[in-house]
Each structure stands twice: as C-alpha cells, then as structure tokens.
Symmetry: C2
Subunit: 202 residues, 2 copies
DNA sequence: AGCTGTGAATATGTTCACAGCG
DNA sequence: CGCTGTGAACATATTCACAGCT
C-alpha cells in the first residue's frame, strides 16, 4: 500500500520537528488523505495508537519501517547508465532510505570500466553473474524499450525478485517477482486528458 | 484513466506492425489487462468497435488520441535543470507524443543563459513572466522539495493548469489545476514491501 | 459464427458513525 | 472527554455472461 510510504515520510518530518505524538486527523491532513483512511490503513497491520491520545510518532515510524521492509538496507543494481540511469544514481532519496546502488551495468563499451563514485560500470554481457556475485535484491531497469524484455529475463534468472522499470514496455514477469513500472509519458497523457476533458473550462 | 494511454501505445505498435484490426481479446493481452476491461473502458467514450470484427486499429488510435488530448502538441516548461531535469529534457518520449519542452528555468546563476539544444535556460526569478510569455500549459517540476511549494504557487499564478511534480512533497493545488506526482522512493518502498511481505518465500 | 456493448453480480476500496479504552 | 479501532453503509471498479449487431 503506497499510502504507508507517505505516512512514513510524514512521520519523519514530524519527528524532525520534535513532535512526540500525532492524531490520525493531523497525519491525514499532512499526507493528503482522511483520518478514517489513516486509521483503517494502519489497523490492517496492528493497533499502534493509544485511544484518547493518538500515535507515538517514533513508535509508529518504527512500525511502518518494519512493515515496509525499510528497517534495513537493500542491495540494488542499476541496469542502464544513460541519462535516466545517471540521474537515478545521483538521486539522494534512494540512499537516504537504504536503497544502495552497489552495481551499475551498461551495454556501451566506452562506459564499461568507468567509475561512478566508488562503483565501476560493468559490461551487460556479465549481467547475470554480476547480479549473483553482488547478491542483488532489486534491479532498476533504465534501458531502451526494445532491450528491456531480454534484460528482464536475465535479471530474474539471477534471482532478483524486485524490479523498477523505466522502459515503456509491457513486461511479463514470472510468479513471485514484483514489478513496478514508471512510465512518464503515461503520466503526461493523464495530465493532457484532465486538461482536455474539463467541462468547466474558463 | 491511465489504461487509455496504454491502449494507445499498444495500438501504435500494432499499427507499425501493419495490423488493420484488433479484438478486445488481443488488445487486452498486449496491454496486460482483460478483454472485458478493454470493452468497458472504451464504452465510456463511445462505440468504436464493429461486432463480429473488432476495432479498426487506425480509427481507435485516432479516437484515443482525441480523448486523451494528444491529437495536438502541448507547450511544456521544465522547472529545474538539475540531473533529473536534464534527463527529462533529453527524454525522447515526450517529444514523440507532442509534449514540447519549450522553456527551461533554473535558480543556479551559472546555468542561466546556457543553451540546451535551442532552448535557453531562464532565471527562476522571471518564472511567472516567462511562463506567460511562452504560453505554457504544463509545467514539470524537478526542483528540491523545500522549494517546490513556492515554485508551484508561482506556476499556478501564471495560469498553468497541468503539473508533473518530481519533488517528494505533499503539494496543495488550487481548484482546476491537475497535479501528478512521481515519487520514486515511494515506488521503491512499495517494492520493498512486496519483497518483505511475501508469505511463500522460497 | 464472432465479437462488441452492457446490465447484473461480484469484489474492492472508502467513508461514516460509534462503541470502548485510556 | 478524546481519539482509536472497526463493523456497517456506501461508492467505485472489475468481472461475468449474454443479447444483439455484422
């Protein structure tokens, strides 16, 4: 559930602000949802609040991290060192949440061997073995759409079970593998749709 | 409805492959949904198919473009010329769908005046006037989270009504403005959640 | 006969409203 | 008394199943 992540980020902000306790009302306001929604969402995983008081910020934060599995770090590989890949590699948010990009792989021979920070870019022909050696758990695919299905198969063969895909392609993943697609054109099209189909245009 | 965009992309692939006609069965297979879903989705906007035959690829493609509002081009501004901004600027998919990034704005004085392709980077202090001059319809926000609310207010004041936001912040938009958030950490957390809460771990 | 378009059935998600604990 | 946790009511989304056009 995506909202859990939102709650966690909100709690961390509250925590930095020195708040000790928070009500579902307050939390929902900051996360852009409703109080009932917050309570229902949390109640699926346990009873974390105190009636009459609210939730302990620190405690709920810890619980949510555990539920989301971000009370640990994850070994992540970046496949594709193009423009999107490089932006993702530099993106601080991943690091801050324990998603450690410990491997970068690319097909371009002029890039292979190059170093980004402490990470050497490896040849995509070694993809499967590199992923195994590095005990990668999550792969970020930032390769061209026409290459991504092949890369995906290799990645899943290597035992990776979480995939964040940026290529605009409909991927089929084996049972037991989680896939998240980020398709920016689809997002823009959704905006275009809203702007176009607005009855009360002024 | 996000699936409409998916259908459109699928149709374009079929079209390039020379297909004349497609059934809801076929379309759903390629778009990763079900035949009934496709028919229901399309039926909200009209009757585009022929019974016993299916849908004309070319015709449905045209209809979907019109519904989504991508039968035209859009004037888009990129606010924030950092790593994510530059990756987005170079991203071909936007251009191909008629989302023309005609303006780039940044706060860094060393970047202002620089040219990316034919586009000069403008100073963020001129943001509102630049957006008006350029008749911008959609803004992509790739600025730091602590600056984004301020930028957003400026952007909406300038009459922009569609916003794609990459900053991890909960934004409040005025009535009549469409906002899409892309939060990559949330996506990764969702993956982490699936990997963590998988009962039948082998 | 084949495949759409659609009401009806089902499933899923959200909001309401309140009992019950602190 | 305040705020959570939760069943019940409501709303939305998906799937089923079939009548009806071509």
């Amino acid at each position: 559930m995506r909202r859990l992540g939102l709650y966690l980020h909100t709690l961390e902000k509250l925590s930095r602000g020195g708040e000790e306790t928070v009500s579902s009302e307050e939390l929902s306001g900051r996360a852009g949802t409703t109080a009932a929604q917050v309570r229902k969402d949390l109640s699926h995983f346990g009873s974390f609040g105190k009636r009459g008081l609210g939730y302990s910020v620190r405690e709920l934060e810890r619980e949510l991290k555990e539920i989301l599995g971000v009370d640990r770090s994850w070994r992540v590989a970046l496949v594709g060192a193009g423009r999107i890949g490089s932006a993702l590699f530099e993106y601080d948010g991943f690091d801050a949440r324990g998603f450690d990009i410990v491997t970068v792989v690319d097909a371009d021979p002029t890039k292979v061997g190059e170093r980004w920070g402490g990470v050497e870019i490896r040849d995509i022909r070694e993809l499967e073995s590199v992923l195994r050696e590095e005990a990668i758990e999550i792969a970020i695919l930032a390769v061209p759409a026409d290459a991504v299905q092949e890369v995906l198969e290799c990645v899943t063969s290597a035992g990776v079970r979480g995939i964040l895909n940026f290529a605009p392609a409909q991927l089929r993943v084996p049972e037991g593998v989680s896939l998240k697609d980020v398709n920016l054109v689809l997002e823009m099209e959704a905006l275009s749709f809203s702007l176009t189909n607005r009855p009360q245009d002024r």
